[in-house]
């Protein structure tokens, strides 16, 4: 126990130390000086390597996504089409169907995984993700309401965003202060999720099967029909959210230490927690309004990122990349496996993720710092 604490403090101090002794970087880091050595930047070699590899894999996933489907398109043809010289049918399939779908998948996957990483870090629990605590359920309930109701004129995607926002507001309201590790917030979310789930089921039982079918993509998560406006909102939201989460990263990593240490390092725990929670649920809301409730990505993305990253780090960038990668690969599988029928991406992630999830439940410690 003491040994573990020691290594943790050591790690933390190794992260903080370079400002004190700028001469030689710690192991595994590059020191980059610029502006006449007045400023310096410490670069984590492993993080750079991991992020590059994930980015390359994502690029491969992009090529595979653009190439496969009911109509196969060869790689040279893809390149031609992207330059604007492809045949009409290739242009349509790539520019109107596959490219926007890939982009929507990558963006929503990245946002979900980033949101998951933040909340997991905050709660120090790999199972604490926005999807599991009911944000997704509320978004689904609102989107389904828009489909089955004859009086709501807002589009399902807008309603999904409104649902996520409402759930968040209610959860914050119920939880009051966010408390230690934001646990109250999580429980409030669970309660909201359970009620939203019940309401969704009631709505679905009250309508014709055809309407239930129209609502189906919103109950499982699908990239088949995205709303372009929501994708734009997500793009902007993810961009800003990513930068802000990099800004709270330092505060979050000091919160992994005992709270008194964190405070003495200048962190304000309440503020950091609130900021991280707010970022997490906002990005979930944007992602869900595009893809529906694909909550497992928020768990699997950061999980993959953590496995390959330096222990003790908060792998924000790697999580986002891994989320995008898993989401796009899942959607590719869903599009092609049962062709011509499509399996919604939410079901693919559930099926593929379930063995891993069971393993986490049964074998792994839920605490991400262990």
């Amino acid at each position: 126990m003491t040994a573990a604490t020691d290594t943790k403090t050591e790690r933390a101090s190794s992260r903080l130390a370079p400002t004190l002794s700028p001469s030689s970087p710690p192991r595994g880091f590059w020191l980059w000086r610029f502006n006449g050595a007045q400023h310096s930047l410490l670069l984590d070699r492993r993080a750079i390597a991991v992020n590059s590899i994930l980015a390359i894999l994502l690029a491969f996933s992009a090529i595979a996504s653009l190439a496969s489907g009911s109509l196969s398109i060869s790689v040279p043809d893809i390149l031609l089409t992207l330059q604007g010289n492809g045949s009409t049918i290739h242009s349509f399939v790539i520019q109107e169907l596959r490219l926007p779908r890939f982009a929507a998948g990558a963006l929503s996957g990245a946002a979900l995984a980033l949101a998951g990483c933040l909340m997991q870090t905050l709660a120090r629990n790999r199972l604490a993700t926005p999807g599991i605590i009911g944000i997704d359920n509320a978004a689904t309930a609102f989107a389904v309401a828009s489909i089955v109701s004859t009086t709501i004129s807002l589009a399902p995607s807008a309603m999904a965003l409104a649902g996520a926002a409402t759930a968040t507001a209610v959860a914050f309201g119920l939880a009051g202060a966010t408390g230690t590790r934001g646990y109250r917030f999580i429980i409030a979310g669970l309660a909201i999720g359970a009620v939203s789930g019940a309401v969704t089921q009631v709505m679905l039982s009250g309508v014709a099967l055809d309407d239930a079918n129209a609502a189906y993509p919103w109950t499982v998560g699908s990239l088949n029909a995205r709303n372009p406006t929501s994708v734009i909102v997500l793009t902007v939201g993810l961009g800003i959210g990513y930068l802000l989460s990099l800004a709270v990263r330092r505060g979050l990593s000091t919160l992994q230490l005992p709270e008194s240490v964190a405070v003495s390092l200048g962190t304000r725990p309440g503020r950091v927690r609130f900021a991280a929670l707010a970022l997490s649920v906002l990005m979930t809301g944007f992602a869900v309004s595009v893809a529906g409730p694909v909550g497992l990505i928020a768990l699997l993305g950061p999980e993959l990122a953590r496995t390959v990253s330096r222990p003790g780090r908060i792998p924000l960038t790697a999580s986002a990349l891994a989320g995008a990668l898993l989401m796009t690969l899942s959607d590719l599988a869903g599009r092609t496996l049962l062709e011509p029928l499509e399996i919604p991406v939410g079901i693919v992630t559930a099926l593929a993720g379930s063995p891993y999830l069971l393993w986490i439940l049964l074998r792994k410690s839920p605490d991400i710092s262990r």
Binding site: L127, L190, A194, A198, L351, S354, L362
Partner: protein, 328 residues
């Protein structure tokens, strides 16, 4: 032994709930003609509605409430977690998923077998308890609930896959998942009885060792009990109860949370006292929720699962807010 007065109150509550359930319904038979029947007036319409429609669903409500309330109390003592509830922990979801599979394979909601539902509940139960044991999540109530929520989410996705494959199943399931105690036949009720009685016997045998286990494994072992054996017996009892209840009424969330919570509020944390109080309180909750479900949207009926969720969610919040998650 003289029972404390709150026991009297609880049983009185149950009696009132039962009476209301017989008196009020979605149909034209109101309290006046219902009371008339009880007084001896022989109106065939009132007789039919009360004896053939309201009485069976009252009995189904009693059995379901009893099973879920007691199962909740047992799970909470076993995991030492006030949030451990069959619905939140994924036990009901396991049961529901098994039923979904059965419907996919050709069963109808009217011909469900209790056994399938109970096997699903057992699987869900075992999984959650395994998670508790292996991760030491017993010390951290929220972790256990998170594990349960994850399991529930997963099983829901798998059910959605079934609904994608088979539209007939989709159509049957969307009515079944909302929960109801209406229109269950005596046959269905009788089919669950043996397992319920078995569960009852297990509980009678295991309640004292379980109470000692709640004081700590060492205490239990010192008294000559086998902790592993106790756990196994409790899990089996919970699976039988929850599986039976789910087969009868569909997945009903939060009953197992609310009932033991109220019972503990009156009777304290000792499982032997809590269980006695759960006996009237569980049925009272389901029976009154069912009566409300008939009156809200008459001449149709509201699904029961919504009412229990609406009652249960605030209680969940109260537990979190007021007690700082007490350990049992």
């Amino acid at each position: 032994m003289k029972l404390p007065h709150y026991h009297m109150i609880a049983w009185l509550l149950l009696a009132i709930a039962c009476l209301m359930s017989l008196l009020f319904g979605a149909g034209s038979i109101g309290p006046d003609s219902a009371l008339g029947l009880l007084m001896g007036n022989d109106d065939p319409e009132a007789r039919f509605v009360i004896m053939e429609l309201r009485l069976p669903r009252l009995v189904v409500g009693l059995v379901t409430g009893l099973a879920l309330g007691v199962a909740g109390a047992l799970l909470q003592t076993l995991t030492r977690n006030p949030l451990a509830e069959p619905g939140l922990l994924g036990v009901s979801a396991g049961s529901a998923f098994a039923v979904t599979l059965a419907i996919l394979l050709g069963a109808t909601t009217a011909s469900l077998t209790t056994l399938i539902s109970q096997l699903g509940a057992l699987a869900g139960c075992a999984l959650v308890i395994a998670a508790t044991r292996m991760q030491g999540v017993g010390q951290d109530p929220v972790r256990l609930v998170l594990a349960g929520a994850t399991l529930t989410g997963l099983l829901l996705s798998l059910s959605s896959l079934v609904m994608l494959i088979d539209q007939r199943a989709a159509d049957e399931i969307r009515f079944w998942v909302t929960g109801s105690v209406a229109g269950r036949s005596w046959d269905q009720l009788l089919a669950t009885l043996p397992s319920m009685i078995l569960a009852g016997l297990i509980i009678v045998a295991v309640v004292r060792p379980l109470a000692s286990l709640a004081l700590g494994e060492k205490v239990a072992m010192g008294l000559g009990h086998h902790p592993g054996l106790i756990r196994l017996a409790v899990i089996l009892a919970v699976a039988l109860l929850v599986g039976g209840a789910t087969a009868l009424a569909g997945p009903l969330a939060f009953v197992g949370l609310v009932v033991p919570f109220v019972a503990r509020g009156f009777g304290g944390a000792d499982i032997r006292k809590t269980l006695w109080l759960c006996l009237p309180l569980g049925p009272a909750l389901i029976v009154s929720a069912d009566t409300v479900s008939r009156l809200l949207v008459a001449p149709s009926e509201m699904p029961l699962g919504v009412i229990t969720a609406i009652i249960g969610a605030p209680v969940l919040m109260i537990i979190i807010r007021s007690r700082r998650i007490p350990t049992l």
